[in-house]
């Protein structure tokens, strides 16, 4: 009993250490957002009359219009994150904005005491598509150099935005906004971690590469959705209501990404894990191999796709829909509904179909399942396929909801672990419940604490669960020590 008391005390101390100190007052300085928009093909000729608006958390901070030299500047009150929008309507007809690598809308972080340069590039009308092709990577490099004052390292890692939650809102409004964002985030965690939990259940292996399978899905969708083939298909079908939506490059990209994710899972199981199990490699060693796989996957994606944060070009700018006190973009609403649909489908598959029952049986007790005639290797293969495609789906949704970058999956992996442990390691339903709870906890914690600590709170929950109920909410009580 006394050791229990000591452990609880120590965890309280740990929690206190996590609580933020008092932030120092920001130093006064000349923070502003500025830039110069030049005519294509010239080094000093500016373009006049382009409107730019700067906002923070939905509140407008200021607007600017480029002068005769194409220069503009918006003073901002303090260092922080701002949202910059260039009004595409105000660009003269002979030019258009180069959408790659970032579009008309940017999220930027202003440092204390210095201006932040936002670079927009114009190209002659009709050339944006051609110039955005990957063969001309030089233009992107120029932009990086020109952005002198920008510090990509200062971008907030691991922080998840909650759109539709503004600074000035009342507690109730904020609560509802964050709860909606939390549910969406939680559903994404749940979808991604069902596979993680089932893989642990069937093979007793913790898949540290699962986060990178999430990134893989998001990157695949990014690659497919920016292919010109799909945009031409979409243009041909754009008028037709349902077909037009299905033929949207991103929707097609999502479907292909899910297929690719499933294939990746199956290939890993068939050509790596099954042979390793055949060689009687110990579990500890298997963990290290999953880490090796995650390093290879993550850095190959970094080498191929670069370290830039991207957003999907489709469905980026959307009007909020209002349902009573709840405001949500149609994009997030679709994510919400599709996620719930997919989770219900997966749950009913696990509950009612033959293969689903077999999966649960193998996860419950591999030896018993094998001796009652289940082909354990086949079931494991299906579990990897299911896990891979679900994580890819979660990755696309996360990319749609936030941004796509090479570490997105690794950051989500920590939350997935928290969710899976909270729900019960090895159970599919536990992963769903736990993921949802972790998403909600992470978002709602920003009501009281800094958003930079979202992950820390999710982790604190995980440690408390390990202390009081290591088998998780839905896990069966067994010896885990």
């Amino acid at each position: 009993m006394r050791t229990r008391l000591v452990t609880v005390l120590l965890s309280v101390i740990a929690a206190i250490m996590v609580i933020p100190g008092i932030a120092a007052a920001d130093a006064a300085g000349g923070e502003s957002l500025k830039g110069q928009i030049r005519a294509p093909g010239s080094s000093d000729e500016g373009v006049e009359g382009i409107d730019i608006a700067v906002s923070q958390d939905g509140d407008e901070i200021g607007t600017a219009t480029t002068d005769t030299d194409g220069e503009w500047e918006v003073e901002v009150p303090e260092a922080g994150d701002y949202h910059v929008v260039l009004d595409q309507e105000s660009i003269p007809d002979e030019y258009e904005l180069l959408e790659k690598p970032a579009g008309a809308e940017r999220d930027v972080t202003v440092q204390e005491g210095r201006p932040f340069f936002v670079v927009y590039r114009l190209v002659p009308q009709g050339e944006a598509q051609a110039e955005a092709s990957p063969s001309e990577s030089e233009s992107a490099d120029d932009e990086e150099d020109a952005a002198g004052g920008a510090e990509p390292a200062a971008e907030e890692e691991g922080v998840v935005e909650a759109p539709g939650v503004s600074e000035g809102a009342s507690f109730g409004e904020k609560f509802i906004g964050l709860a909606v964002a939390g549910i969406i985030f939680g559903l994404i965690i749940a979808i991604s971690s069902v596979g993680l939990s089932l893989i642990f259940g069937t093979t007793k292996m913790i898949n540290f590469a699962h986060g990178d399978m999430v990134t893989f899905g998001a990157m695949m969708a990014m690659m497919f959705s920016s292919m010109t083939l799909f945009s031409t298909v979409h243009e041909a079908l754009a008028g037709i209501p349902v077909l037009g939506f299905i033929a949207n490059p991103l929707v097609l990209g999502l479907i292909l990404a899910v297929v690719c994710g499933g294939v990746l899972g199956v290939v890993l199981e068939r050509f790596l894990w099954r042979p390793l199990r055949g060689r009687n490699v110990a579990l500890i060693q298997m963990f290290i191999v999953t880490i090796g796989v995650s390093l290879v996957l993550r850095h190959l994606m970094l080498a191929v796709f670069g370290e830039r944060r991207n957003k999907y070009a489709q469905f980026r700018i959307q009007e909020m829909l209002h349902f009573g006190p709840v405001s949500i973009t149609p994009r997030d609403l679709v994510i919400l509904l599709v996620s719930i649909g997919v989770l219900i489908l997966v749950a009913s598959m696990l509950q009612f179909t033959r293969i689903g029952k077999a999966m649960r049986a193998v996860a419950d007790n591999r030896d018993l399942a094998e001796s009652s005639g289940i082909d354990v290797n086949r079931v494991t293969l299906y579990v990897w396929g299911l896990g891979g495609s679900l994580s890819a789906l979660g990755g696309v949704f996360l990319g749609l909801n936030q941004t796509v970058y090479w570490q997105m999956g690794f950051h989500l992996l920590l939350l997935m672990f928290a969710g899976v442990i909270l729900g019960g390691l090895g159970t599919a339903y536990g992963a769903m419940v736990g993921g949802l709870a972790i998403g909600l906890i992470a978002q709602l914690s920003t009501l009281w604490f800094s958003p930079q600590l979202m992950n820390a709170w999710a982790l604190a929950i995980m440690i408390i669960v390990l202390l009081v109920r290591p088998q998780g909410i839905l896990g069966r009580r067994e010896r885990v020590g």
Binding site: L10, A23, R279, A282, G292, Q452, A456
Partner: protein, 328 residues
């Protein structure tokens, strides 16, 4: 392409301060994993608190350097206690998850906005190592054989770090041949058997976690002294995985394994790096930009980890039988 140049740079890295620092951290990891069987995937967390122990004490609180080093050790020990208490009673996989998560969250905490008054946030801390280089007894100049040479400051740091490595090796070897070490190795082989002999496995595991963590913290403090400028973002989880690859390459549960591994690995990595770089600059390999070399190097380490485990789990000088332990 100048092969001699590549060879020189690789040798300098392999015996230089950075390799020595990784040796120190790998010795800590060897105590955790090699001898006790603990799956610590967050060794970089210990290095982080160690590095900031020095940097924060000297710059933020104006303490002398030796107190800073003491603070590093204390911080690493506290982190080990906090990590161990909830997880050491559970199965090994729980410790693995908790360590990887805690190390990453620590990095996020240290770079957070509210921590800036203490840790300097994303900009980190710098100019705290003057006290260390001020007592450098080696007269300025360049020392070495042939093209392999080091400056006086580098040499001073190398002497200190390799000295620490020697001390750590001595401590580890002495401990592992003592009754304490036999209990520790017993825990790795069969925890229940150790319990049945009346030993409290939890306490022993905790002592091992603290000891290895302190070595990790010291390695972090040496990183701080080496660079004289630290930011949280250099303590990425990849550092831990590098350490794992190095330890497994050298051979876990061997006194000299964690020394051999990092030296060989740094030699290979630098050679790989320099080779790719010179190939890229000569435009021999298409589609290869210099910015991708770092990423490819990480991927190479990942591949090395997989191949090592599959084909030679005992590493260069390990004992295969010792590495066939299974988690219950």
């Amino acid at each position: 392409m100048d092969l001699l140049q590549i060879l020189t740079v690789s040798i300098e890295t392999a015996i230089g301060p950075i390799a020595a620092i990784y040796v120190l951290a790998a010795i800590g990891l060897n105590i955790h994993f090699g001898y006790t069987g603990l799956l610590n995937f967050g060794q970089v967390g210990f290095m982080l608190v160690g590095a900031y122990g020095v940097a924060v004490s000297v710059t933020t609180f104006d303490l002398p350097l030796w107190l800073g080093l003491l603070a590093s050790i204390v911080c690493a020990a506290i982190l080990a206690l906090l990590l161990g208490i909830p997880t050491l009673r559970l199965r090994a996989d729980y410790l693995a998850i908790a360590t990887i998560a805690v190390a990453e969250v620590l990095r996020l905490l240290y770079r957070a906005q509210f921590a800036r008054p203490i840790t300097g946030g994303v900009y980190g801390r710098n100019s705290f190592a003057d006290g260390f280089y001020g007592i450098n007894p080696i007269p300025p100049g360049s020392y070495g054989i042939g093209d392999v040479d080091f400056s006086a400051d580098e040499l001073w740091l190398m002497v200190v770090v390799w000295g620490l490595v020697a001390a750590a090796l001595g401590i580890t070897a002495a401990l592992m041949h003592s009754p304490w070490g036999r209990v520790i190795k017993g825990i790795r082989e069969d925890e229940d058997a150790v319990r049945s002999l009346g030993k409290d496995a939890f306490v022993y595991k905790m002592q091992s976690l603290v000891l290895g963590g302190v070595f990790g913290g010291l390695a972090g403090a040496m990183i701080a002294l080496n660079q004289q400028n630290i930011t949280p973002d250099q303590f990425m989880p990849q550092v831990t995985f590098y350490l794992w690859a190095m330890l497994l390459l050298g051979g876990a549960a061997r006194t000299w394994g964690p020394v051999l591994g990092p030296v060989v690995m740094w030699f290979l990595l630098t050679a790989f790096d320099e080779l790719l770089r010179s190939l890229a600059s000569m435009d021999i390999v298409p589609f290869l930009e210099t910015s991708q070399i770092g990423a490819l190097r990480h991927a190479f380490v990942g591949l090395a980890l997989i191949l090592l485990i599959v084909y030679r789990p005992q590493g260069l000088i390990g004992d295969r039988k010792e590495m066939l332990v299974n988690v219950k």
